[in-house]
Structures are given as structure tokens and as C-alpha cells.
Symmetry: C2
Subunit: 338 residues, 2 copies
């Protein structure tokens, strides 16, 4: 099949590789209808994560079941499914409390930017739709494989509630979905930190009531101004680096929680400051499967539409350009179609 | 007055010093009936916090109002009061959400192990009782000035709930109060980590259902055994050092929160592990005044009795011995009476 491979930092190629094959009775093979590039793929692309040997890349996709293992009961070839980027059995004690991203049988999609992908724990992971959705629905449904549940997890971890003033740090696709999540959860004010006009526009359409274009110290001062010096009731840290975390912890009011969902890179947590200010931290890899049914309902009913985080669509053949566009911030998130 | 002073690590002396005086209209002076030594006083005593110059020490006390400032409306000389170790105006935006320990007008008791103590923000801080309680009630009432609300804050920060399995790291007075708090909040199992038989006994009387005497790696393995490999629903970190925090984070199940209340010393938070396991952290200095009315009711009604954390009573004259006894772990917590 044709699959996206990363060979080294900055070196993305579409290559011919063997099709994925069944490795366990609980596996399924998905024919990918749409995949996309994730902000976390850029860590490898930018050399911040080591690429020790060339491998396929891409963990977000939706598609049609091609083949199922003998242990798969709930899905059959032909089913249209959303594939959570992290696979879970949906039965272990961690899944039982909604922590599917720490499942005892955790797996990951590893060829989401390709023609086919293998999903482990198919019964526990996949969520089916009635038929293939309209082309117009593809982006918002694809967003449910990772980015929207990840923004949702940030908001849930930060314990966003009705009437809250929420700050979202990061204007990438996850941050924007965090804005959408906070707004949907009843936040009264959603302050989005964004320097880019196109992203500010999406943030506003997702429910942001205010935009802070400053960064670091100045951003914290702006939030202080906007909240009469009190700080935010909940903060979503959707970047994963040191500066973003520092800002997030600073703008949280005492008693608030920072929800974090960006894989941490270069973060040192200021434990004494957290203690002194009574600011908590919670989050991690999103338990996509836990949120998926509810979020799908919200998408299908039209209550939320995360689709606009995809501001570019490219054929799989152009996947290297998709990475470049995101790396250079010419695109927020690129949808690729095999 | 006679007051406890620390001159350097290990050097505690009872000295004659000037009485505290009113410094603001909102102040009150309290004649101390009972004070005590806190685990956090030992940081200075043990040289882990620098003592740059001799100063009075002791932040926990109860007593009778001796004098009030012209701005104090709700208290008069003769009132018997509990003095929260951190003083708060009870009106600022942080107090309004129960974060009295981050009050805009925060103050602290600085001569609790003495004959008199000054309380700033008297109206916002003090809680009155009807008359001087019986001698038998003194320990449990004194515990409300810090140690019991601090254990309570650990449990609240960890979001202990009905039916939970809770682990409490630390068998000092705060840890024991954490056991009492978790039990009172409806935890089904409370696993207390303690190596000392006398403390284990109090822990059990406070509601601990299981004791783990091991430390570090072995303690984590024991908790894994006790929880079928799943971990605890909530964890209270009541020590404040690196090993305790490491253990606390390890024994928390994915999705759980570690509530921490020990002033952090030598703690480096493993942010990537917290992310991978979706284990959160929350807590800090306890907002004593927020919990005080409710806890006082529980004490008066007999629902809780934190008094047994005081396993020694000494006259103020023997305060140096009180420190030694606690430093050498011969005593859990010493009550001193001027």
C-alpha cells in the first residue's frame, strides 16, 4: 500500500510498503478514507523526538472495515468507523472509569496517513456510523479520532463548568477544539490565546469571547486585566512546552486546575508555586473512546462542528507538503485523502 | 511575654520577648491557651529551611481574645477562639471560592507557641466557641487551627468520594488527619502508610482499613497487590518530600488525583509520567477558615475527634523538649500550654 513514512527529521515520504496484516484475533484492518497530520507528528518532523529508524506515521483516521479477526464480534467488513488513535479493550478496570488511554491492552494507530491501518482491540475501540457520511461531514467526523476528544479531555481535566471563565493556551487544532469544548460545557467566558488572525477567527466561531494575542509575561498580565486580577476558573494547556505550561499555571486562579493534553516537552513543573497558589494539574493522553459516543452525538446533532480545524485538504500523494504547511504554520491541520 | 524562639537549626529556646502589639485596625491579640508544634516547624529545626535570624515560631493556637482593633466588629475581649494558622479577610475573590490560604490579605500566626499571638484580619479569620471548652476538648479544638483542616484539604484536593479506595502517604499528624478526613468523606477503604505501631493504631482508630508498613518501591507494590494492580482512587500526600510524592504518584490509579499538603522540599514532578498515566496533582496550603465551621461542627457533634494526634502535652517551659521529641519521632505532635 501507499503509506507515509518518516525517515528523519524533515524527511517525510510517501512509500510503497506491505499492507498491515492481522496480528491478533481482536484486530481489524481499516481501509482509510481520510487521515490527517497531528501537531504531535511535528515533534518528530522537527527533530524534537528522535527518529531512530524509518517508520510509518499517522495516528488519526476514519474509514471502512476491510477485515476483522476471529475474535471481533461487533464489526464486519463494510462498516464505516471512527478509529480512536489509542485503542482500548473497553473492559479493563481503567476503561471502566473512562481512562481508555491507560488501558491494560493499549494500542495505537501507526499508519493513519496511508491506505490501510490496523486497529488492535477493534471491538473495544471502534465506533460505527450508519453508512459513509457526506463529504461535508468527513472533517468533523475525522476530528473525533483524536483532536476533538483531546480538546475535550483538556476541558474535562481542567474541570470546566457552567459560568466559568476559561483560558485556552495554544491555538493549534487541539487548542481550538478546547475552545469548542469549554464553550459547549457552559463556560461563560473563553479567553483564547492566539496571535494568528485565521486562528482567532476560528476560535471566535468556536465560542471564544476574548482573544489574547500576547505571549508569556504579557499574556499573563492581559489575563489578569481581563479577570480583575483574579485569574481563570479553568485553564487548558494545549501546547506541551515549557512556556505554555508556565503561562497556563500563571493565569489559573487559586483553586483552579490546569488541564494539559500536549505531550510534555521541556516542561519543569514549579511545584512550590503550584503549592503556594493551590493550582492543580491534571490530564494526559485523551481517553478518546470514552468521549467518542457522546461527541459523535454532538457532531451529528450539529451541536458542535470541529471540522473547521482542517483548513487544508490534500491528496495523500502530497503528504510531505501537508507536513511542510503545518510546520510553517501555513495550515492549522491538514486532512489527507488516500 | 514568654515565647518560643528558634535561633538556628536545633536551637529552640523559650525567651522573654515584647508582647505582640496591634499593627492594624483589623488585628486582634489572643491570649494563648494552647499551642503546638507542627511538622513544618521541623523543617527549620532540622536545618532544611534556613534560619537567617532568631525569630518567634509556632503558628497553631487557640485562646481568648485579649484586645481587638477598632475595625474588628465580630469579636470582643473574652471570646474563646480558634486561630487559623493562615489569616484571611474572608471577603476577597479568593476567599469567596474557599481559597482563604491565597487571600489578598493573607497573614500568619507567628507566635503560637507563646503567651500571646497576634491575628491579622481577625473578623475574617477567627471562629468563636461558646465559652472555653472542657480540657478534654482542647486537643481536638486545637487541631482545627491547622492539622485537621490540612488533612481535610489533602482529601478534598484528592477528590475523595464515597466508596473510594484511598491511600494516605505519611503517618504524621497531618497524614493521620487525612485518614480521618477520607474516612469521614465516605471512603470505603483507607490504606495508611505507616511503619510505627503507635501511629498505625491511631490510623486504625481514625478509619484506616489497611496498613502498609513498607516504603518506596515495596510500598507501591503492596498497594498494587491490595488493589488488584489498579491503584487507588485518590491519594493523599502528607509529607512533602521527593520519596513521598513519588510513592503517591505511583499508587494513584489513572484518572486519580494526588492531593498534596506538605510544603514541598526536594520534589521534582515527573510530568511525563503524570501525563502517560493521567494522574493529576492538586493542593497546597490549606484554606483553614473555609473548612473550620464545618469541621468544628463535626468535632462538637462527636463525628470526628482529631485530638489523639496529640500524644504528648507539655508546659510551654518544656518547648525545646517538645521539638526534640517530635524530631526524634518519640512524639507525633506535642501540645504546649503556656
Amino acid at each position: 500500500m501507499r503509506a507515509t513514512m518518516i525517515h528523519a527529521a524533515g524527511d517525510i515520504r510517501l512509500s510503497e510498503v506491505p499492507d498491515p496484516t492481522m496480528q491478533a484475533d481482536s484486530d481489524a484492518i481499516i481501509k482509510v478514507l481520510a487521515g490527517c497530520v497531528c501537531g504531535s507528528d511535528l515533534w518528530s518532523y522537527r527533530g524534537e523526538n528522535e527518529v531512530s529508524e524509518p517508520h510509518t506515521i499517522g495516528h488519526e483516521c476514519i474509514g471502512v472495515v476491510e477485515e476483522v479477526g476471529s475474535g471481533v464480534r461487533d464489526f464486519s467488513p463494510g462498516d464505516f468507523v471512527i478509529v480512536p488513535f489509542c485503542h482500548a479493550d473497553n473492559t479493563c478496570p481503567h476503561c471502566a472509569v473512562g481512562m481508555h488511554s491507560v488501558c491494560d491492552n493499549l494500542g495505537f494507530t501507526v499508519s493513519g496517513q496511508a491506505e490501510f491501518a490496523r486497529v488492535t482491540q477493534a471491538d473495544g475501540s471502534l465506533v460505527r456510523l450508519d453508512g459513509v457520511p457526506d463529504d461535508s461531514m468527513i472533517p468533523s467526523v475525522l476530528a473525533l479520532s483524536d483532536v476533538m476528544p483531546t480538546g475535550w479531555h483538556a476541558a474535562r481535566s481542567a474541570r470546566v463548568g457552567a459560568g466559568h471563565t476559561v483560558v485556552v493556551v495554544g491555538d493549534g487544532a487541539v487548542g481550538l477544539c478546547g475552545v469548542l469544548a469549554a464553550s459547549q460545557m457552559g463556560a461563560e467566558r473563553v479567553i483564547a490565546m492566539s496571535r494568528h488572525e485565521s486562528r482567532q477567527k476560528i476560535a471566535r466561531s468556536f465560542g471564544a469571547t476574548e482573544i489574547v494575542a500576547e505571549r508569556g509575561e504579557e499574556a499573563a498580565e492581559r489575563v489578569a486585566d481581563l479577570t480583575s486580577g483574579v485569574g481563570a476558573d479553568a485553564v487548558l494547556e494545549c501546547v506541551g512546552n515549557g512556556q505554555a505550561m508556565e503561562t497556563a499555571l500563571r493565569v489559573a486562579r487559586p483553586g483552579a486546575t490546569v488541564g494539559f493534553v500536549g505531550v510534555p516537552h521541556g516542561i519543569e513543573l514549579p511545584v512550590r508555586t503550584m503549592f503556594r497558589r493551590n493550582v492543580g494539574l491534571a490530564g494526559g493522553m485523551a481517553p478518546v473512546r470514552a468521549y467518542l459516543p457522546g461527541l459523535l452525538e454532538l457532531v451529528v446533532s450539529g451541536a458542535i462542528d470541529p471540522g473547521p480545524v482542517f483548513d487544508a485538504v490534500m491528496p495523500l500523494d502530497d503528504v510531505a507538503e501537508a507536513y511542510r504547511a503545518m510546520d510553517e504554520r501555513r495550515a492549522i491541520k491538514v486532512l489527507v485523502r488516500p
